[in-house]
């Protein structure tokens, strides 16, 4: 929305028709030398329209448009937006995303488990406001990708960059949970949660998933374990991010729901099974609903002054008029 800081100054616009008359239509206006071109008392003549007369007409329009814009600038145009500031802290959430090779199993649309997981995480993040969200990736190792932040653009950019296998060939679920818990331990948020997204075959890392889940619980962190995949034999296709080689094959034991249930039980958390895209989305919708705290916010009115733009545009239009009249039409005054 646009407003003017001093709207009373817009009354100056009322002077413009009078000025236009005085400059262009007043019979006694100055700056011209008049002399008869025909028989005394006869009718004058109107010069035929030419490109030059059209150009001069255009320059007149540009000039007065410039004047109008300068008057608007004088009145202080401002763009007004409303900004919501949160007075309270939201929920701290760490997403722990499996990047092991089995996440390349093609039993999820549009490509594989990993892409499906990435998509629901993206939608989940986009629906949150003021909840610091972080990201941990794990394969054979685990690493913090994004600390809990409300800079969701940054978070989503990093999420888009994540690739299967970049954390090595393995599934260190315990390490992933431990890293997430470490980065939530000092948080003073009213609620803290870890959302683990994996197909559940823990085969790497020095920390057992159950131990990490218990540690998280002792820090007051809610642990949600989301199992993604199925126990059936399924095709797998993974591009090695280091060599660019495409690895294909099939995997039979690419999902272990019991192991995941056990992790959730150890941490007194909740386990959700997602055997399809729809189920995965439903799980995240549930977590989205559960992990909410009441938030107080303040609406601020932010005013961006736009006068500089108006002054520049008005100045340029008037300079165009000057150039057309003096340079092209060769007016002498």
């Amino acid at each position: 929305m646009w407003v003017f800081e001093r709207p009373a100054l817009l009354l100056l616009l009322l002077l413009i028709p009078a000025l236009v008359y005085l400059r262009h239509f007043w019979p006694k206006r100055g700056g011209t030398l008049t002399f008869p071109f025909g028989v005394w008392g006869g009718r004058g003549f109107t010069p035929p329209p030419t490109a030059m007369s059209a150009l001069i007409l255009a320059s007149v329009v540009l000039f007065w448009a410039g004047v109008v814009i300068l008057v608007l600038a004088l009145a202080g145009p401002q763009r007004v937006t409303r900004e919501r500031s949160f007075l309270t802290r939201g929920v701290d959430i760490m997403i722990v995303l499996d990047q092991s090779p089995t996440m390349g199993a093609r039993d999820f649309q549009p490509e594989n488990r990993f892409e499906a997981a990435r998509e629901v995480v993206r939608r989940f993040v986009e629906l949150r406001q003021n909840d610091p969200i972080g990201l941990v990736g794990f394969g054979a190792e685990a690493s913090l990708r994004v600390p809990p932040t409300v800079d969701y653009d940054y978070l989503l950019a990093v999420l888009d960059e994540m690739r299967i296998l970049e954390m090595g060939d393995g599934t260190a679920i315990g390490m992933g949970l431990a890293v997430a818990a470490l980065h939530l331990q000092n948080s003073d948020a009213p609620r803290k949660a870890i959302v683990l997204l994996t197909d559940g075959i823990n085969n790497a890392g020095e920390i057992q998933p159950g131990v990490a889940a218990r540690a998280a619980r002792s820090l007051g962190i809610e642990v949600y374990v989301v199992g993604i995949g199925s126990g059936e034999e399924v095709e797998i296709e993974v591009t090695d991010p280091e060599t660019g080689r495409v690895l294909r094959g099939s995997v039979r034991d690419g999902f272990d729901g019991d192991a995941l249930r056990e992790i959730a039980a150890e941490g007194d958390g909740r386990y959700y099974y997602a055997g399809s895209n729809t189920a995965l989305q439903a799980v995240f919708d549930t977590i989205d609903t559960v992990e909410r705290v009441e938030q107080r916010s303040l609406l601020r009115v932010v005013r961006d002054p736009m006068d500089q733009l108006f002054v520049l545009v008005g100045l340029v239009l008037i300079l165009f008029d000057f150039l057309i009249r003096r340079w092209i039409a060769r007016e002498v005054l």
């Binding site: 000025l19 005085l22 400059r23 007043w26 006694k28 206006r29 100055g30 700056g31 011209t32 030398l33 002399f35 004047v67 300068l70 008057v71 600038a73 004088l74 202080g76 900004e83 919501r84 500031s85 949160f86 007075l87 406001q129 003021n130 610091p132 972080g134 913090l144 994004v146 600390p147 809990p148 932040t149 409300v150 800079d151 940054y154 978070l155 470490l182 980065h183 331990q185 000092n186 948080s187 003073d188 916010s297 303040l298 002054p305 006068d307 500089q308 002054v311 520049l312 008005g314 100045l315 008037i318 300079l319 000057f322 150039l323 003096r326 340079w327 060769r330 007016e331 002498v332 005054l333």
Partner: protein, 329 residues
Amino acid sequence: MTVESPRLLLGLVLLAPVAAIQFRAFVKGRTEILTLGVQWPADQVIRLYTVKWFFSTVAFNLFLVFAVLAAANITWGEIPVEEDRAGLDVAVVVDVSRSMLAADVQPSRLVRSLAVVRAVSRQLPTARMALIAFKGDAITLMPMTGDTNALEIVLDGVGPALISAPGTNIEAGLTEALRSFPEGTFAHGAVVVLSDGEALSGQIDDPLSELRRRGIPAVVVVAGTSEGAPVPGPDETVLIDEDGRPVVSRADTAYLAEIASRSDGSLFRLDTPDIVSRLVDELSGFVRVREQEGFRLVPHRRYRLFLSAAMIALLISIGVRGIRWRDMF
């Protein structure tokens, strides 16, 4: 008095071509009046024409000058605006150009800078921090977060190899810092810049105006000394110039002082013994003052004064041309 958009003052060079066009028109006008002037008293018309040309030209040129000054956004004095905020978000902008490896501040400018950042973050445990590195380009190494463990990890990996683009583009660093302040935050904001100020490039007008508009001061720490030190090369030697002499990097305080002053921030030196406590006092102090007073002072913009003068000059320019003098011209 401060000019918020000094680049726009370059618009004043337009006066030269405008004046040249006006003078050419004047010469042509005189000639044409003399050619056509058989039926008028030529001296009177020429005199009138000269006077009208002079005043309308001066008025039009004054219009140009005042309009450019209005656009350049000149400010003086301050006015209070309500500031209902609490807490602190700090965007730390670290120069990772090779000159930051110079050892005139021990063990090196960069290592000392990172140690200071680490110490400040420990003494401001409730503040959220973002970390931005800049060289020829800028990258956010850590978004705004209250996770102090993450900052410790990220600081360990900061070095010139992070960014391949050569140069020291402070504009990119400040722009990225501005971006790192999340929307909807209730906290006060501050930017801490650590740089040797040498060969800084980029146009800082826009980011500094934005910092000032949003009430975010830039606390600038000059890393290095005026005596300088050789810049280490990649192979543990020192960089040498085309004449075979070691490249010596010296801290350039002037540009950094301008950044601090134009954003209502302050300037510190990295080699000050109690630099950490000074920075902590500065950051927590400005938050305390704003929270106590409930308002902050912003520059009083004076564009309306200059624009009014420009409009009056334009009106005079039109009037001088448009009003017939002595019933003749």
